[in-house]
């Protein structure tokens, strides 16, 4: 990621790369009674994000009960800022995929993942979500959710104990903290990127997720009886619509 040259009148550009002069400026400010803290904004934002991870409640089986136990008094993962669970993917930061994903559920998981806003994460909880677990030889179980969505953290166990789930979530915190927030999903697009006309999300993650823009849905096989019904319905409406313009015409004539 290219860093654009900042231009501030009182500070020559070269001095930005020179810690000694930066410290000197800060010292001067402090002496003048100004409170200044220096650091990277990314770090600040990631600190906030890492300690407020909202998960989508996506519990399909046993692991979900352990996830509930995590939220309750004994384990209390509110201590780490995980206690907000959302039922809508639009409001969630991550999917806790707690449980077996079957062939019938797979499209729903994929859709929920696609509906989430970037930056988003996936945690695979338990043997089933990691590899199919004890149901690996089944005809109706997805052998690991990594076949469908990219996974950030795997938490093994059948089901994992609440301690393990919390350890896994803390690993995700570490991952969040070293991310480039402004440089990554929220960077300002260059001229070339703007010409492509796609979102940052697409640019950053297309290589990881594949092109998930969808073709528009065009309905081709409309049943004939439905078409007829709509036609008759519109014909019934038409007589009420037609009189209005004629009345207007009459008025115009009079005028």
């Amino acid at each position: 990621m290219e860093v654009r040259k900042p231009r501030i009148k009182s500070i020559p550009y070269e001095e930005w790369n020179d810690n000694a002069s930066l410290e000197k400026i800060i010292e001067e400010l402090h002496e003048g009674g100004v409170n200044v803290v220096t650091g990277s904004l990314d770090q600040l934002i990631n600190w906030g994000r890492a300690n407020s991870l909202w998960s989508l409640t996506f519990a399909t089986s046993c692991c979900g009960i352990e996830f509930m136990a995590c939220g309750c008094a004994r384990y209390d993962f509110a201590r780490f800022g995980f206690e907000v669970t959302r039922n809508s993917p639009r409001q969630a930061d991550l999917i806790m995929c707690a449980g077996t994903i079957t062939h019938k559920m797979a499209p729903a998981l994929k859709r929920l993942y696609d509906e989430m806003a970037e930056p988003k994460y996936v945690i695979a909880v338990g043997g089933c979500a990691i590899s199919g677990g004890p149901f690996k030889s089944s005809y109706h179980v997805v052998k690991g959710i990594e076949e469908i969505v990219p996974v950030d953290v795997f938490i093994p166990g059948c089901p994992p104990r609440p301690e393990a789930i919390m350890y896994g979530m803390m690993q995700l915190q570490r991952k969040v903290k070293i991310e480039k927030f402004f440089g990554g999903a929220n960077h300002k697009q260059t001229q070339e990127e703007r010409e492509l006309g796609v979102s940052n999300e697409e640019l950053t993650f297309r290589h990881k997720l594949g092109d998930h823009r969808r073709e528009p849905i065009v309905v081709t096989d409309v049943p004939q009886d439905f078409v007829d019904e709509m036609k008759t319905a519109s014909e019934q409406v038409r007589p009420e619509v037609n009189p209005a313009p004629t009345e207007v015409k009459v008025e115009e004539d009079k005028a």
């Binding site: 399909t60 009960i65 062939h103 179980v141």
Partner: protein
């Protein structure tokens, strides 16, 4: 119970089944087991119970086959055109629970039921190829991420006047019906259940349950496993009744092999079952509260659930998946502190149950939301096979521990809780009362655990002699049974579990017709189903 099958002529089947219900009073259809009998062909086993004297009987019915070539079968795709379709007359008009049970058999075996109005797949996607439980089914685990385009009609099969198999479509929805989907990813359905709900304003007109979002094909997997291997899967059905589920499976295998257990094993199993029931009911009480928006009450019961888990964990090593029972006894002896811990737990729990009632159960909001909601009469409860606390809330004395006692239940003193309210409030109260009974049972046994072996040694390779058995236990929310067909091999020929929740899901529709949509959440919360148990 070793099964001795009755069998009837194909033509008289429907009337004989009617007779069994009307004259011999077999009014509770426990389950329908579809089976591929090999050379005999496909067929079904019906297990029935007389609710007066709790006698059980079983009927075996082989399917006839015929070509159905009208292009309508298999959802109009024509895939089965020219293929032989097995068929059996329906019993869904005699026992209403058969509605879903027959759809399950159709899904797994492709047997169609003549006169059943809605022959759709129950668990698998509508574009699934073939019927996986048939012995000649070619294994295939490919899947697609495309949406499943579901038919908006059910097929009804019938024989025309020349005796040819025909089918016709029955529309599921009217042209002006307003249909909303609740689930498969919804916080109030306790898992991945999908309820397609037809509404008129706020009033529910019809509920179509869609299952199979967590269908793992456990029964099919068991057919390729040795008996000890199959045990690992039952804990993962209803993880809140893990002990009871495993109890039913080891029970049926031990009965088949004729294993005599020591008293110590029976005592420990009974205590463990009751601890598990306590655990499940505590979570139930919490989830009921949470679904109604009372988060505090949820935290209270989850706090105490941890104490129960501690007791079990010291012996079994697991919190949810216990893996404790095995064929011939237990994995290991109880922990030295087990007796003391359990006694402390009982002492702690007894006064605290009242706290849940104070915090949530006797709240005026709870009463308003639960009373007269989701009603179901005693007669309907039996017809829809609503077992467990939900059925007992309507006055049906259906507790397997009383009716078909196993282990120590016949020798301890306890009361079967029944109520007369038939509504959601009584279902909730029934669970609360049962917790006291569980504590009472544990109290009587915990001091008297006899000395003896915790495991009766078995041969290294376990084989069950030929025959069919059915063994059921009282799970946390109903009867959980296992049907075993053994051909003398080291793995079962057919293993079928009677899930507790399937009939409860089938009963949602009659319970909720005419009720408000918000009552759906209350009814679902109080009826206590766990979806992985239904889907298996």
């Amino acid at each position: 119970m070793k099964l001795e099958f009755l069998s009837f002529d194909f033509d008289k089947f429907a009337s004989e089944m009617q007779n069994l219900k009307e004259k011999k009073h077999f009014d509770y259809l426990v389950t329908i087991v579809g089976e591929d009998f090999g050379e005999e062909g496909l067929g079904c086993v019906y297990i029935l119970e007389n609710t007066d004297n709790h006698e059980r009987c079983s009927v075996k019915m082989l399917a006839k086959t015929q070509i159905c070539g009208d292009g309508m079968s298999s959802n109009g795709t024509g895939v089965t055109d020219g293929q032989l379709i097995p068929y059996i007359p329906t019993v869904s008009n005699i026992w209403r629970v058969a509605d879903l049970l027959e759809r399950e058999v159709y899904d797994f075996y492709g047997i169609v039921f003549l006169g059943h109005p809605d022959m759709r797949r129950l668990f698998l996607r509508s574009d699934f190829k073939g019927h996986p439980f048939r012995k000649d089914w070619q294994f295939n685990d490919e899947y697609t991420l495309e949406d499943d385009i579901e038919p908006d009609y059910g097929l009804e099969y019938y024989l025309d006047k020349d005796g040819h198999l025909q089918s016709k479509q029955n529309k599921l929805f009217g042209p002006d019906d307003y249909v909303i989907n609740i689930g498969p990813q919804h916080p109030s359905t306790h898992g991945v259940l999908r309820l397609q709900t037809v509404l008129n304003g706020e009033t529910v007109k019809r509920v179509y349950p869609h299952l199979g979002y967590i269908h793992r094909g456990i029964e099919k997997m068991c057919e390729n496993m040795t008996y000890p291997q199959t045990l690992a899967l039952t804990d993962r059905l209803n993880y809140l009744s893990a002990m009871m589920h495993r109890h039913a499976l080891v029970g049926v295998i031990e009965e088949g092999m004729g294993v005599e257990l020591t008293d110590r094993i029976k005592y420990i199993r009974t205590i463990m079952d009751e601890l598990q029931r306590l655990d499940s009911h505590l979570l139930y009480v919490g989830c009921c509260a949470q679904d109604m928006g009372a988060l505090t009450a949820f935290l209270y019961s989850m706090r105490d659930r941890e104490h129960v888990l501690n007791c079990m964990e010291e012996t079994t090593g697991g919190r949810l998946i216990q893996n404790y029972y095995r064929i011939g006894g237990l994995q290991d002896d109880i922990d030295p502190n087990f007796v003391k811990n359990v006694k402390d737990l009982v002492k702690y729990m007894k006064p605290i149950i009242q706290e849940y009632v104070d915090v949530f159960g006797d709240n005026i909001i709870t009463h308003n939301r639960f009373e007269k909601v989701g009603p179901m009469s005693l007669e309907d409860c039996i017809s829809y096979a609503v077992t467990g606390p939900a059925g007992r809330a309507s006055g049906w004395k259906n507790d397997v521990r009383k009716n078909h006692p196993y282990d120590m239940y016949s020798q301890v003193e306890w009361e079967q809780i029944t109520m007369t309210g038939c509504d959601t409030m009584d279902r909730y109260t029934c669970h609360i009362q049962e917790m006291y009974q569980s504590l009472h049972i544990i109290e009587q046994l915990i001091d008297n655990i006899p000395e003896g072996d915790f495991y009766v040694k078995q041969k290294p390779i376990i084989k069950v002699p030929e025959g069919q058995w059915y063994f059921s236990v009282e799970g946390a929310s109903g009867e959980f049974g296992v049907y075993l067909d053994s051909r003398g091999d080291k793995s079962p020929y057919r293993l079928k579990m009677r899930p507790m929740g399937l009939s409860l899901t089938g009963a949602l529709d009659p319970m909720l017709r005419g009720q408000k949509i918000a009552d759906l959440v209350a009814t679902g919360a109080a009826i206590d189903f766990v979806i992985p148990d239904i889907d298996r």
